[in-house]
Symmetry: C2
Subunit: 480 residues, 2 copies
């Protein structure tokens, strides 16, 4: 029986790893250029840290760890009772599980900030690149183990931080060669609209926003239908879409930066006026914040296309201010990055009044975009520069020959040239074929006649050109 791995998980082979590292290293180097510091948190958190933070649906998707002491038969009766109770209430008992795998990097980060508040210098700019686990139904492009790359600034409410994160997005995708559009909005604007429509209760506002978030997926008609199910009447729904129409009637032009800049400005100001008219200060504050944020972006000459999108909502409940989402222009795929401001994330762990703003990059989708647009650099597909091949003549004095090869090998590595020797006494063909399959660009073939020479025959596998070179010459030759 061929062994396998759990569905929704993946092995990464050498080529995938080289490509993934290229993405991670690019993101990491930009994070560090902007002064973010790396942290890591454990894969397992206490179950109580995670439950209740992701909504009911999210809670169901948390992978829980089985307590290791359940094999103690003395506890049997208590365990049986607990287990039955847990079945009756469709939830896991503490006697079964107390720990779980992290579901995202945001809640563990909030937990980290509260736990280590005394050691942290605020504003705290941290980045974190680690896998997360979700018991989602596996499907194309959706995995049960995937990596998130998050940067957050916590302990500062300056809108400058929002601008810094958008610069990071711009810088990362420029370095990767991906053309993107960055959509921006502000949660207070959507809340202001809800209030103006007469949607009052907090939970309902949150559902209202989540429904708007689905407009790309289920279309305008779908959103209208869901809103009426939520309890909004026809008048409210018509009013909502009038506002959308009012703001969105001016269309963005594909490549005209100046026109688009002006358009964003006009939309934001129109909205600010609307909230002033309707006496909705909360929505007005959202438009004001968005205006400052957008002024920064224009001033910084962000290369990506910026689009104020009133229907951008972002699913997560903890956002309270600016929100943003990044889409690739040349590939049909969901958002490849997104984030926003949260005013009270650490509140769930008892530390209130700390505002933060964060961004998350989705490594898997970025991988797919680079693959589809053929933007992975060539150099990352091989690591070994030289393979040393030896002639497998049975009369050849093996010991002496190997020692000569080994010293050459050592000398090349001392010069930081990644070098291998074929370890077995195989025929030349097999050794050549290994170099070819591995994509190793140079080979050195050692023959008996060269044992007393200081020069070695090196061959470029691509051009098929051969040269007799000394070790320092080889170092120069392969470094070009």
């Amino acid at each position: 029986m061929k062994p396998s791995i759990p569905k929704g998980t993946r092995d990464f082979g050498p080529v995938e790893m080289a490509r993934r590292n290229y993405i991670f290293n690019t993101i990491r180097s930009v994070f560090e250029l902007y002064g973010f510091q790396q942290i890591e948190t454990p894969a397992m958190e206490n179950l109580s840290t995670l439950t209740g933070k992701y909504g009911e649906e999210g809670d169901q998707l948390i992978f829980k760890i089985l307590n290791s002491r359940i094999h103690d038969s003395k506890e049997k009766d208590a365990l049986m009772k607990e287990f039955e109770l847990s079945l009756d209430h469709s939830k896991n008992s503490e006697i079964l599980t107390e720990k779980a795998l992290r579901y995202d990097l945001t809640v563990p980060f909030a937990r980290y900030v509260v736990q280590h508040r005394e050691e942290i210098t605020f504003p705290f700019k941290r980045y974190q690149i680690q896998p997360v686990w979700r018991a989602d139904r596996p499907q194309k492009g959706r995995y049960r183990e995937f990596f998130q790359c998050d940067a957050d600034i916590i302990g500062s409410d300056s809108i400058l931080n929002e601008a810094e994160l958008i610069q990071i997005v711009d810088d990362v995708f420029n370095r990767l060669g991906i053309n993107v559009t960055i959509k921006i909005n502000n949660r207070k604007i959507l809340e202001g609209i809800a209030s103006f429509l007469g949607v009052q209760d907090d939970d309902k506002i949150s559902d209202f926003i989540s429904t708007i978030d689905k407009i790309d997926k289920i279309s305008e008609e779908g959103v209208k239908h869901e809103l009426s199910q939520l309890g909004l009447n026809d008048k409210q729904i018509i009013k909502l879409f009038e506002i959308f129409e009012e703001i969105n009637k001016l269309k963005f032009l594909d490549n005209d930066k100046l026109v688009n800049d002006d358009l964003n400005k006009v939309k934001i100001l129109t909205l600010e006026g609307l909230f002033l008219d309707k006496n909705e200060p909360h929505g007005g504050k959202g438009a004001y914040e968005l205006n400052i944020f957008y002024e920064y972006l224009v001033n910084l000459n962000i290369k990506a296309k910026i689009e104020f999108d009133l229907t951008l909502a972002r699913g997560l409940n903890y956002y309270t201010g600016a929100i943003f989402e990044v889409k690739a222009n040349d590939v049909e795929i969901g958002s490849i990055s997104g984030g926003g401001r949260y005013d009270n994330l650490t509140g769930i762990f008892g530390m209130h009044g700390i505002s933060g703003v964060g961004i998350s990059f989705g490594a898997d989708r970025i991988y797919d975009v680079l693959l589809q647009t053929n933007k992975f650099p060539e150099f990352i597909s091989f690591s070994t520069k030289i393979l040393i091949i030896h002639v497998s003549d049975p009369k050849f004095p093996e010991g002496l020959f190997k020692n000569k090869s080994l010293l050459l090998l050592k000398e090349l590595r001392n010069n930081e040239i990644s070098t291998e020797i074929y370890p077995d006494l195989e025929n030349d063909d097999k050794q050549f074929s290994y170099a070819k399959k591995r994509g190793i660009p140079f080979i050195i073939l050692i023959k008996e006649s060269e044992l007393d020479s200081d020069k070695f025959k090196i061959k470029n596998m691509l051009t098929r050109e051969s040269k007799m070179l000394s070790i320092p010459e080889i170092v120069e030759f392969v470094k070009k």
Copy 2:
């Protein structure tokens, strides 16, 4: 209530991360210099992949994932019955758990090789740096989540590979500045001795070897006691220690490489003679292999001290040839690296006759050694080079000023200088204190009077020296 993390797990803050990355990057760069390719496997494996591979004790320490479907109340009766059965047999039922967290990197690697055999070019040289999880009782220096750094060559039985791994050890610890002793032995030698003593049955030989492995922990007397409990009689035990005495009577000298080299050689040859005398070809083969291995090491002029230690056994059952273990010379701590040859690791997944050899570095102990010997380089303790500080004068035109700062910020980052701006309108003291706490070596203070100048005042926080410099001059100044 202050939030916490599960016992035996750790958060890593910015300073620890910088140090850990220094260790990982050093190991990674050596692995790649030697032509090893990186792979990653998922954190979760099917439970059946892991169970039965680590002995009974190991199996108990595997962290298991709770199946997510157990809340379905329709299945209640079946579940209750299964659960009771699992309690009665002190084992976890499949209805409770089918997946588990990896316990090491070796078994997932064997699974990977068998699963992807068609895509792999053999000999396959892979490295893997990932966390593993063990439900061990947490104690000082022992964690439930820790990182392993493994390199293996699989699909070649050439002893050259053993020599390559020892070179890697030598190279890694040289780069890290840690003085080490590398102990070597061969499992066939220990098996030969067992056979010569009349220990026949495979399980018993394996227990015999595991007992010898404890000599450092429980002393000679302890080993003698355990061997008699294993069923060896006094005559056998006396004979065993006569052999140890015969081989170990010559002592290594601390710093005399040539004498030590000769000593190793004498010991190996003595043992080869012994096995020839006693007609133990299996042990003889072990001594012969060790001799070739050792010849390579002498020829390659390994810098670390090499010690043939007949009592080195290594706990793991799958080793079949060379074994090695690395100890730090200057710090009292367990082994910081170890490995060996295994002839049939992939056999557990149905792919037989593939020999391999591997090495594993323990990042946590290496961390402790570097910390205790004060060998972490200074440069890794900070990443941000410059903090831009702004005067918080309420009359100061904030927008204009910020824009000027932002363009300076952008220009410095374009030159790959890691730079931050303090995002809030705080007083200067607070901003200075931030730079100090973060260990940022340079600050640029922006005042109203400089708004029309091309030069900026930059201060070295350590020397307290200040200069007025243009942007290109700043780039030069901080790069020195």
